[in-house]
């Protein structure tokens, strides 16, 4: 059993904090001492233009109607809230509900943000969007939005990721995007962001940088959150409709933190709701091979924002490690750093092993293959559920009176090869096993 979380100060403390105002719709550029614009001057005009366009758009009924229409008739929103009854028995018997972002078009929450930003790009008269991607999820989503809206799309992706995720590269190319393998630095997601920023500096006149997470310079963290707030708004309305009350806890996985900030936002001002973010613990905290930025990082500036950061004593960024490419990032969105510091949200690490056990459990108990990213949230929910059940038992309560919502941020089709390798499901002479072996060496 894990130790009690340091965040989620008791309800009275959160209530007292909230008396000072709402935690919702924080406009940036600062979230406490985090956020800001730690960017080259060359790009300030572009982020200024984006901020101005976004501020106008979100107050414009026509823009809001466009977003709502795309969410409903293109992405398939609202996504379902599904009770996971058989899975719940493994989480101390608390009732677990899944917010089904996996059912969106393109298979994850990412579509919410890319559609919104692509609309803004059009409003700014930009004809080209660029994006970074780790395993390819945000790249595929960006290519999708670009195809839908007739924008040129260039995706930067680490050279090794391109090789390991050849099918996602093919997907992006099918959608009309150009994928550029990144060979600089550590050739990972952070270097893909660096190269996208270099492209943006040189092509800012006609190009919008479609950043994939709630990180980066202002207005990106507040803007990306805005496009994902629909997750939390829907989940809150759905649980009230289905159960007539708020949940006791909300869980999400955190890489940069966009799915998490989206669902958290719906519940930030509800003091009775405990909120948990689960970072990638990789091989384990003690190994140094992880992506637990808030748990073990220190404040610093990277990619435009001040936030928690995995860095060495010299301030050099440390490479992160996770079985989940979507969580494999050494930074985190600045609003999460703030929510951690004020104790509103608890952030805890989940190891690769814990995530993969939860991954298999959901497959077998609910018939849903989750993204490995989302499996971190599921593994966290199991721990939270077990703790809640113990607490309830201690005061003579029943676990089944407790409700936990988990953001199932994406589907796991993309992860089948990784999972098959992990669980040793492949014939060792198969082509897939060969690919898996190469992946293991990386």
């Amino acid at each position: 059993m894990a130790d009690a979380p340091s965040g989620n100060a008791d309800n009275k403390a959160v209530e007292a904090f909230l008396q000072g105002g709402s935690l919702k719709h924080a406009p940036g550029p600062y979230f406490g001492s985090f956020g800001g614009r730690w960017m080259p001057e060359s790009l300030i005009a572009a982020v200024d233009e984006l901020e101005e366009t976004f501020d106008k758009a979100k107050d414009d009924p026509e823009f809001r109607a466009q977003v709502a229409d795309l969410n409903k008739n293109y992405s398939g929103r609202p996504s379902l809230l599904t009770e996971a009854k058989r899975f719940s028995t493994h989480a101390g018997g608390v009732r677990i509900f899944l917010k089904r972002e996996d059912l969106n078009h393109t298979g994850s929450h990412k579509i919410n943000n890319v559609l919104g930003q692509a609309l803004l790009a059009k409003r700014m008269g930009k004809t080209r969007v660029i994006a970074e991607t780790g395993a390819g999820q945000h790249g595929v989503a960006s290519a999708t939005a670009a195809a839908l809206m007739g924008l040129e799309c260039v995706v930067y992706m680490g050279a090794e990721d391109c090789r390991r995720q050849a099918l996602n590269v093919a997907r992006m190319e099918l959608l009309g995007a150009t994928v550029i393998p990144v060979t600089s630095g550590s050739q990972t997601l952070k270097d893909a962001i660096n190269d996208a920023l270099r492209d943006w500096v040189a092509n800012v006149d006609n190009t919008h940088y479609l950043l994939g997470t709630a990180a980066g310079a202002h207005p990106f963290p507040a803007m990306v959150r805005y496009f994902h707030e629909v997750i939390g708004e829907e989940a809150r309305a759905q649980i009230l409709d289905q159960e007539g009350r708020l949940p006791d806890a909300v869980c999400a996985c955190i890489g940069g933190g966009s799915n998490a900030i989206g669902i958290f936002h719906g519940f930030l001002d509800d003091p009775s709701v405990k909120i948990y973010g689960f970072e990638a613990g990789g091989d384990g905290m003690e190994t140094g091979r992880h992506a637990a930025t808030i748990t073990l990082g220190k404040p610093g500036v990277l990619h435009g924002a001040r936030s928690y950061l995995m860095q060495d004593d010299d301030g050099q960024t440390i490479e992160s490690h996770s079985i989940s490419a979507g969580l494999d990032y050494p930074g985190v969105g600045p609003e999460h750093s703030y929510l951690s510091d004020i104790g509103r949200v608890s952030y805890e690490p989940i190891t690769d092993r814990e995530a993969m056990e939860a991954f298999r459990l959901l497959c077998r108990t609910e018939g849903i293959i989750p993204a490995i990213e989302s499996a971190h949230a599921l593994a966290g929910a199991i721990k939270v559920g077990q703790r809640m059940a113990e607490e309830a038992a201690a005061i003579g309560g029943a676990a089944q009176d407790k409700i936990v919502i988990v953001n199932l941020s994406g589907r796991g089709d993309k992860d089948v090869a990784t999972a098959a390798e992990w669980f040793d499901l492949l014939d060792k002479d198969s082509a897939e096993a060969e690919i898996g072996k190469e992946g293991e060496q990386l």
Binding site: E41, S42, S186, R198, G300, T317
Partner: protein, 276 residues
Amino acid sequence: MASKAQTISRSAAAIDKARAEGRAALIGYLPAGYPSVEETIAAGIALAENGADLIEIGIPYSDPVMDGQVIQAATTEALAKGFSVRQVFDVVAGITSKTDAAVLVMTYWNPVVRMGVDEFSRRLSEAGGAGLITPDLIPDEAAEWMEASDKYGLDRVFLVAPSSTTERMQRTVDASRGFVYAVSIMGVTGARTSVSTAAKDVVAAAHAVGAERVCVGLGVCNAGQVREIAAYAEGVIVGTALVAAIRDGGVEAVAALTKDLSTGLTRETGLTREEA
């Protein structure tokens, strides 16, 4: 405080000395620890002895978003060889103890944050450094650095770009001390065959809001380009070409290139900007 510090700006003094000689100042960039700390010091001294008025020492950083491939490759190699940030003070002290050149450090901001802005400034000052060039720090976020640079009498060189609005140009020029770094094009570091016409406009815009010393960088690699820029700016910054020189020909090549670049500094009219 600012005007008092202005009088002790070592960068400004070096640029003014060049101006008194009827020429622009030459600023040469080298990444610390590439190919070794000793060679960076030797190359810095060679820069000063062959016509550079100011020397810019870069701190290798894991995420250099404003740098092109040549500088990235050099700094990545320096880091792979185990360069540590505190060695930059050895480089600065090694050069300032042997030359009169003003030595600035060019650094992305996180290494400074990690060491502590005050601690970094104190050590830079003790090493004889003139100040910092900060490619990813804008005045809006620089409160701590403004305070530390005043406390230790260090120059703070912010960047202006072709995309900077007049309002931002004003703010940046007002916050800067020593000189203002004009980015010649919208792009990253790297040698280019011609200097964009945007450079002249950026310099004019900076002068128009009161900048006394504007130096142009990004893409400058030969004496012809130096001559072109020397006609309208107080200083010319060369980076990538020098990094390629030390990579391919060591300290001797740096000396030879610096000597050649410096032939472009004299303004053909012989007039200073004010007179022209």
